[in-house]
Symmetry: none
């Protein structure tokens, strides 16, 4: 791998985890292993970021498919490669549709997996700047309180403070205060910027 690469491997089967850890170590790829999607998400919540995620599909608790959907919902752009034991076409279709980068059948050639990872990293390098930018915006948005989010959502559709106030049943003055907080936290200097940022976060062009 040309650039320093950090990969997350998720599988409830210890043997598979060990095998992949060993393989990636030989390829000079840094890996972090997790026994469940939950463990992995806990790591991301504490700020860890990975260049690529390799996950089993069938696991107790959250499945690989669920994980992909969750990550997409959270706006995390890291490519996910799913691995399955059963040659399940329907599941493969569903996985790719929700945004998995690849879907590989077990037993698989480890080189095939590595190739897929390399492929994913190449594809992801293009919009990396945008992705980083978006993640920054996303994280800023996440620091907003529930009320502030409500105000922001209503503001970006063009409602005045008075209108927002009557809709949320609070005084226009309070809306004004929330709005000021939103602008500062998001880092927007005017409504136009706020609308742009909101559209980026929501991904609605």
């Amino acid at each position: 791998m040309s650039v320093p690469t950090h990969i997350a491997v998720i599988d409830d089967d210890e043997a598979v985890l060990d095998s992949l850890r060993l393989y990636f170590a030989r390829q000079d790829v840094e890996t972090s292993c997790f026994a469940s999607a939950k463990d992995f998400l806990a790591a991301t919540r504490s700020g860890k970021r990975f260049d690529c995620i390799v996950s089993d599909v069938r696991m107790p608790g959250m499945s690989g498919l669920d994980l992909v959907q969750h990550l997409k919902g959270a706006g995390l752009a890291a490519p996910v490669i799913l691995i399955t034991g059963h040659g399940d076409v329907d599941m493969a279709v569903a996985a790719i549709k929700v945004g998995a980068f690849d879907f590989i059948e077990k037993p698989f050639d480890e080189a095939r997996l590595l190739a897929s990872i390399q492929n994913a990293l190449n594809k992801m390098q293009q919009p990396e700047i945008d992705a980083v930018e978006l993640e920054k915006l996303q994280s800023r948005f996440n620091t907003l309180s529930a009320r502030q989010r409500q105000v922001m959502e209503l503001a970006v559709v063009g409602l005045s403070n008075k209108e927002i106030g009557s809709q949320l049943k609070i005084s226009p003055k309070t809306v004004e205060n929330h709005r000021a907080w939103v602008m500062e936290r998001i880092g927007a200097r005017n409504i136009a910027e706020l609308v742009r940022i909101a559209m980026k976060i929501q991904g609605k062009p």
Copy 2:
């Protein structure tokens, strides 16, 4: 099917073709059958359009996968549903990646295929409205004079009338007048709407 629907079915196996033709006829769905992708493309070249395309994957000559790629390249948006005899996960992944709408294994339930078609048609109806809407916005934008367009462009990046005025070397008052015209012609009731419309027209999310 609620609206008049015309489906293309492509398969080199006469038996499958007959079977699907019969099934769709019973569902009041108009179908055109083709024995090869080449025959189908010949029909599209003479102007025929279909709401949905159902095609076998493995066929002599152009495969179903090739067909999807070709159609995407030609800018034809009709959804393609691929059918395969072999439970080939890799091919399913490849098909969805290049833009096939669904990938169904043989033997399949005919109702499953119909459900997928219905699903495809629903999905395709959404952007159709968007496309009409966008054309309307585009035409409105085109009625703007050069000066009005300048003002609009500067306004949607968040500049105040004063800033726009100094940039265009005209009085803020004039900018105000232009701005009012822009809002009326575009049909925006506030800056937020104007920003949204501008982004739609420019296609920059």
